[in-house]
């Protein structure tokens, strides 16, 4: 799944480590999320969206066929 986490993070000028600390995960998890190798749980997606002050859909791009009805 593609995400805009890296883009939003760079806009806010924060590091992966700082974002990881804010949402209580490891930096490696943030890296995997930005690379699309790992899909966040609902709670983690909500925390990241809250941190950036946007909605989940504005961060996580649901463009795959199996991600939509």
């Amino acid at each position: 799944m593609k995400t805009r986490i890296a883009e939003l993070r760079k806009q806010k000028k924060i590091t992966q480590g700082e974002l990881a600390d804010a949402v209580s995960v490891t930096r490696q998890t943030i890296i995997s999320l930005e690379n699309g190798r790992y899909n966040a749980s609902l709670v983690l997606a909500h925390k990241i969206a809250q941190f950036f002050g946007v909605t989940i859909e504005e961060i996580f791009i649901f463009d795959q066929e199996d991600e939509n009805i």
């Binding site: 990881a20 995960v25 490891t26 490696q28 998890t29 790992y38 966040a40």
Partner: protein
């Protein structure tokens, strides 16, 4: 790899502190059991109270000492965590990280699948030459199947 020894659902540092203290208790018990296993097997062998071979004695005493050493090292690491709030917090985040928990779950499932395959293969092939193997591996496979079925039922009702 450390996910195997540290995965937790603790939601804050205080909860995690209690988890680490409980783990130290379990590790202490396991260390005592490991040492007991070594002592009992060596004593029984030296008194000719068992039909154990040298290889069996080596396995039991080596496993016992190994378990004790690993447990003592883990207790020391946990005590260092308990003394340092920053390290405790980092450890909690690392151990409750959802990606790590997912990796540990997948690794565990894969290992169990491989173990099941080995059990069934061992039962089918080894049983031709050593009939007792069929009983041992058959019982282990049955325990696994029953545990899986019961766990599935229980978790289905809970979730």
């Amino acid at each position: 790899m450390k996910g195997f020894l540290c995965v937790t659902n603790a939601k804050n540092d205080e909860e995690y502190r209690a988890v680490v203290k409980k783990r130290n208790l379990y590790f202490s018990l396991a260390a005592v059991l490991g040492i007991a296993m070594t002592i009992i097997s060596t004593w029984a062998y030296s008194r000719d109270m068992t039909d154990m071979t040298d290889i069996s004695l080596g396995f039991f005493s080596g496993a016992g000492i190994g378990i004790a050493i690993v447990c003592v090292l883990q207790i020391i690491l946990n005590l260092r965590l308990l003394r340092d709030d920053k390290k405790l917090h980092s450890s909690r985040v690392a151990c409750s990280d959802e990606r790590l928990v997912a990796i540990e779950s997948k690794a565990r499932n894969t290992a169990l699948a491989v173990l099941s395959l080995v059990f069934v293969s061992g039962c089918l092939i080894g049983g031709i030459f050593y009939p007792v193997l069929i009983k041992i591996i058959g019982i282990a496979a049955a325990v696994f199947a029953v545990t899986y079925a019961l766990s599935y039922l229980i978790y289905s009702k809970k979730m």
